[in-house]
C-alpha cells in the first residue's frame, strides 16, 4: 500500500501520544479534571478551534495561510445573532447565513490570492481587519448573555437528557467534528479538489503545465476555509457566554498552530485532516487544561510555542533527510 512507513514515524501518531500523556498528567494532578463535566466543557471549547483548523488546513497545504478566520468567525456569529434577536430570523436560517457569509469572505480571499496574485498573508490580513470592522458595526447594542442550556445553537453540540445535576450530556458536537474530519480527509485524498490543493503547494508550476485550471482550485481552497470558519462561528456562538465585537483576533493562530502540530508541511504540499484534528487537540488541551494543574493560562502560550517549534523542526528534519537521500 501507499503507506509503507511504520506508524511510529508518523507525526500524527507522535502527537496522539502527546495527547495521551497530557491527559494522564492532568488526571494525576487534578482530581477536578477527572470529572466528566470537565471533559465535557473542554470539548465544548474545542469545537470552534477544530472547525477553523479543518478549514485552514487547505490554504496551508497550498503553502498559503488564512488569517481572517478568527475575526471572521466572530463577525459571522454576530451577524447571525442580530438576525435572530432583532429580526426574528429562524435559527436554522441564521446558521446558513453564517456559512454563506464565511464562503463569501473565503471567495474574496481566494480571488485576491489565486486570481490576482496577492500574497496570502497580506490578502487575509486585510479581510481580517475588514471582518473585525464589520463586527463592530453590526453590534449596535451589547450582545445579550446566553447561559441557559439549550439556548441558541447549544443543543446541536450537546444533547441533554434529563435535568439538573444528574442530567446525561452527550458531546454530539465532538461526533459532528469527527465526521467532518473524516469527510474532509476523504476530500483531500480522493477528489480532484484535494489532489490539486496538494499539487498547488508542492509544485504549482508543474500543475499549470499539466493543463489544469489552477486558479479555480486555488480559490476553492480558501472558499472551503471560509465555509469552515462559518461553521466555527456556529460552534463559537453556542459555547461562549457573550460574543463580543473586537474579539476573535488571535483565535486563528490557535487553529493554524494546531494544523502545523498535526504535521502539515510548513512549506506546503503535505498534510492530513486527521493530523489537524490531533494537532488542534494538543492546543486545546494546553489552552483549557493547564489551569486545572495550577498553571496560569499564560503558560499555554509559551508551551504551545515550544510544541510548535518541535513540530516544525520534525518537518524540516524530514525534508532535509529526504534531500540527502536524493
Amino acid at each position: 500500500m501507499t503507506k509503507k512507513k511504520s506508524i511510529i514515524t508518523d507525526q500524527r501518531f507522535i502527537v496522539l501520544l502527546v495527547i495521551i500523556a497530557l491527559v494522564v498528567i492532568y488526571m494525576i494532578f487534578s482530581p477536578e479534571f477527572r470529572q466528566y463535566s470537565s471533559i465535557l466543557s473542554m470539548l465544548d471549547f474545542s469545537y470552534y478551534d477544530i472547525l477553523m483548523a479543518i478549514g485552514v488546513t487547505f490554504p496551508l497545504i497550498t503553502a498559503g495561510v488564512d488569517l481572517s478566520i478568527g475575526t471572521g468567525m466572530v463577525c459571522y456569529a454576530l451577524v447571525a445573532g442580530r438576525l435572530v434577536r432583532d429580526y426574528n430570523c429562524p435559527v436554522l436560517v441564521a446558521m446558513l447565513i453564517c456559512v454563506l457569509f464565511g464562503a463569501i469572505v473565503g471567495l474574496a480571499n481566494g480571488t485576491l490570492i489565486g486570481v490576482m496574485g496577492l500574497p496570502p498573508f497580506l490578502a487575509t490580513l486585510c479581510t481580517c481587519m475588514i471582518t473585525r470592522g464589520i463586527s463592530s458595526m453590526v453590534m449596535a447594542t451589547p450582545w445579550p448573555t446566553n447561559k441557559q442550556p439549550g439556548g441558541w445553537f447549544h443543543s446541536i453540540f450537546k444533547l441533554t437528557f434529563g435535568t439538573g445535576r444528574n442530567a446525561l450530556k452527550l458531546p454530539v458536537g465532538f461526533l459532528v467534528c469527527v465526521a467532518l474530519v473524516l469527510l474532509m480527509e476523504f476530500v483531500l485524498n480522493h477528489t480532484k479538489f484535494g489532489r490539486y490543493t496538494i499539487a498547488i503547494g508542492s509544485n504549482k508550476e508543474a500543475l499549470m503545465l499539466s493543463g489544469v485550471n489552477v486558479k479555480i482550485y486555488h480559490v476553492m481552497a480558501y472558499v472551503v476555509c471560509g465555509i469552515f470558519a462559518g461553521l466555527a462561528a456556529i460552534a463559537y456562538a453556542a459555547v461562549v457566554p457573550t460574543v463580543q465585537p473586537g474579539t476573535g483576533a488571535g483565535l486563528e493562530l490557535d487553529a493554524i498552530g494546531g494544523v502545523f502540530v498535526g504535521g502539515v508541511s510548513a512549506t506546503g504540499g503535505y498534510g492530513s485532516v486527521i493530523g489537524t484534528l490531533v494537532g488542534v487537540f494538543v492546543i486545546v488541551l494546553l489552552k483549557t487544561g493547564l489551569p486545572y494543574v495550577g498553571l496560569q493560562a499564560n503558560w499555554q502560550q509559551i508551551i504551545t510555542g515550544i510544541v510548535l517549534i518541535g513540530a516544525v523542526m520534525i518537518d524540516v528534519a524530514k525534508r532535509r533527510r529526504m534531500a540527502k537521500e536524493q
Binding site: 501507499t2 480522493h190 477528489t191 508542492s202 508550476e205 508543474a206 503545465l209 508541511s265 504540499g269 503535505y270
Partner: protein, 498 residues
C-alpha cells in the same frame, strides 16, 4: 522527405534586440532519432518552444502530419501528440507516480478519483516500457533517473507521436543513461519521432540517426550521424566566425607569482577534482558548455557552497574558506552571473552598494560616515567611468553595464586582489561590453588577478591569458592563449566518443 511527420520551415523569431531564430529549418521522421545541436544560445530551446506553443513564431510554417499547424500552448501541442520532456522535471513531489502521470486528466468514479485504475494504467505503461517503478511510490522518493522515466511514461500516455528530449542525460548516471537509450530505441522501433537535444558527442553517435546543427539562431546543416565525425559536428557548431581582436599571446610573465592555487577541489557532482593556478596580473578564462560546473567551482572556491574536499593556497599560504566572509577576508571578490539576485541591491544608491561589503571601514562609532562613504564612491565612479548623474542615484536607474561597474567598485573598495567574474557581460550591450573588457584588462595590468567564467567563445579568446576548460564537473584541459582555438576548446568542452 515524404515520410517526415513534422517539418519546420523558414522559422523566424525575434525578441527585443535579439534575432533568436533566423530562417531555421528542421524536420523529423517517423522512426528516427534526430539530434539538435549547437552551442549555448544557438537557439535550440527557442526552436522547440516555438514548436510546442510556448513562443509564437514571427514567420515560417510548421507542418505536422501533412497539415499546417500552430499551437497556442503546450496543452494543444500535447493533445496533438507533440510532447516535450524538459531538462528540469515538472513533477509534483508530494504526489505518487501514478497521480503525477495522470495529473489533470484523472479517471473519475463520480466525485472520487479512481486511483486504482490510474495505478493499473501506470503499471501497463511501465510494463510496455520495461521500466521497474512502483506507481504507488511518492515522486520525491525516486531518483532523478526514475523521475525522468516517469516523464517519458507520461509523454507516451498522451498518445505522443513526437517526443522532444531536452538534454535528458544531464542529471543521469551511466546506468540510467543506458536504460534511457533502451527506451528510446524501443520507441523508435514503434515508429515514434524523437528529437534529442544534447551536448554529449558520444551519445549523439550512439543513439541518433541524423544531426541538425544550429549556430547563433541560424540553421547550419543536417548530417547523417553515421557518416560524420565529431570534428565535422564541432566545425559546424563553431563555424568560421572572425572574432574581434583575439589575444594572441599573454603578456603575463611566465614567472609571475602564483596568487591562488586550488588543489583537488570537490563539491558534489558538478565539481570533481578541479585543480588550477592563478598568477598575478592574469586573466584566467573558464570555458565550457552549460552545466559544465564552472559557476559551481567558483562558488565552492568562494565558500558560497560547501565543498567536500580540496586545498586552497593564497600567495603560497594554505587558507580555510568556509564562507564568503572567509573568502572576502582573503581578498577574493565574486561577481555573480546573476547580478540582480546576488550582486547589487537595485533599490539602493550607488554609494550604499559600493560600500556594502566594507561598511565597517566607514563607521564613526555606531553611525555611518556618509561623507567618507561618498568620497570613496565618487572616486570609483570616476575611476571606472560609471555613467551617472551622482553617487546618490538608485542603481535600478543605471544601464546593465554601469550596474556591473557598481559591483566591480564594491569589490575594489574592499581591496580584493582576486576577482571572479562570472559571465561579466551577460545582458550588457556591445558598447558597454567593450568598456568592461577595457576595465578588466586595466585591473589585470595593475596587478589584480582575474578568473573569468564565460560562455561566449569570443570573450574567452579575447580576454584570457590562459583557459581552463571544464566538462561535466571535471577540468578537461588547460590551454595557453597562444595555442587556443575555438575548435580545441569545443573539443575539450564536449565529451569524447566513448
Amino acid at each position: 522527405m515524404a515520410d517526415a511527420i513534422l517539418t519546420m520551415e523558414e522559422i523566424e523569431k525575434s525578441f527585443p534586440g535579439v534575432h533568436a531564430l533566423d530562417h531555421v529549418h528542421f524536420d523529423v521522421r517517423r522512426g528516427e532519432v534526430h539530434a539538435l545541436m549547437g552551442e549555448n544560445g544557438a537557439g535550440k530551446s527557442t526552436l522547440m518552444k516555438v514548436l510546442t506553443g510556448i513562443y509564437t513564431k514571427d514567420y515560417g510554417t510548421i507542418t505536422y502530419e501533412g497539415k499546417e499547424v500552430s499551437f497556442n500552448n503546450t496543452r494543444e501541442a500535447q493533445d496533438a501528440g507533440i510532447v516535450i520532456v524538459h531538462q528540469e522535471l515538472n513533477m509534483i513531489g508530494d504526489l505518487t507516480v501514478a497521480q503525477n502521470i495522470f495529473i489533470g486528466r484523472e479517471f473519475m468514479k463520480g466525485f472520487k478519483i479512481d486511483d486504482k485504475k490510474m495505478i493499473e494504467e501506470s503499471k501497463k505503461l511501465f510494463d510496455e516500457l520495461k521500466i521497474d517503478i512502483n506507481p504507488r511510490d511518492k515522486m520525491s522518493d525516486l531518483t532523478v533517473g526514475k523521475q525522468q522515466m516517469c516523464e517519458i511514461a507520461k509523454a507516451i500516455s498522451h498518445q505522443a507521436k513526437v517526443i522532444i528530449f531536452d538534454e535528458p542525460s544531464a542529471a543521469l548516471t551511466e546506468k540510467e543513461i543506458e536504460d534511457l537509450f533502451t527506451i528510446i530505441r524501443d520507441l523508435r522501433e514503434k515508429g515514434m519521432a524523437i528529437v534529442y537535444i544534447s551536448h554529449r558527442m558520444d551519445e549523439i553517435k550512439v543513439i541518433t540517426d541524423r544531426v541538425t546543427v544550429m549556430r547563433d539562431g541560424g540553421y547550419v546543416g543536417t548530417l547523417i550521424t553515421k557518416d560524420c565525425t565529431k570534428e565535422d559536428i564541432i566545425n559546424m557548431m563553431v563555424g568560421r566566425v572572425i572574432y574581434e581582436d583575439p589575444k594572441t599571446e599573454s603578456k603575463v610573465p611566465k614567472d609571475a607569482p602564483v596568487v591562488l592555487k586550488v588543489e583537488h577541489l570537490n563539491a558534489g557532482r558538478m565539481v570533481q577534482d578541479v585543480s588550477f593556478e592563478l598568477r598575478k596580473g592574469e586573466i584566467l578564462g573558464f570555458s565550457g558548455l552549460m552545466g559544465a560546473g564552472r559557476t559551481e567551482t567558483a562558488r565552492a572556491l568562494f565558500g558560497a557552497d560547501p565543498k567536500t574536499s580540496g586545498d586552497i593556497y593564497i600567495n603560497g599560504e594554505k587558507v580555510t574558506i568556509n564562507s564568503p566572509q572567509d573568502a572576502v577576508k582573503h581578498g577574493i571578490g565574486y561577481l555573480s552571473e546573476d547580478r540582480k539576485r546576488y550582486g547589487i541591491v537595485v533599490q539602493k544608491t550607488i554609494t550604499e552598494n559600493s560600500t556594502m561589503a566594507t561598511l565597517e571601514k566607514y563607521m564613526s562609532g555606531i553611525f555611518i560616515n556618509k561623507s567618507e562613504e561618498k568620497k570613496i564612491t565618487e572616486h570609483y565612479i570616476e575611476e571606472l567611468a560609471t555613467k551617472t548623474p551622482s553617487a546618490d542615484q538608485l542603481v535600478v536607474n543605471l544601464s546593465g553595464g554601469n550596474q556591473q561597474k557598481v559591483v566591480i567598485a564594491k569589490w575594489l573598495v574592499r581591496d580584493c586582489d582576486i576577482l571572479i567574474f562570472d559571465e561579466p557581460t551577460r545582458g550588457i550591450d556591445v558598447g558597454a561590453k567593450n568598456e568592461i573588457y577595457k576595465l578588466m584588462n586595466r585591473l589585470a595590468s595593475e596587478g589584480k588577478s582575474i578568473i573569468m567564467i564565460s560562455s561566449e567563445m569570443t570573450e574567452i579568446l579575447r580576454m584570457s591569458d590562459r583557459i581552463v576548460v571544464m566538462c561535466e564537473g571535471k577540468k578537461t584541459g588547460e590551454l595557453d592563449i597562444s595555442e587556443a582555438t575555438q575548435e580545441k576548446i569545443m573539443n575539450k568542452a564536449t565529451r569524447d566518443i566513448a
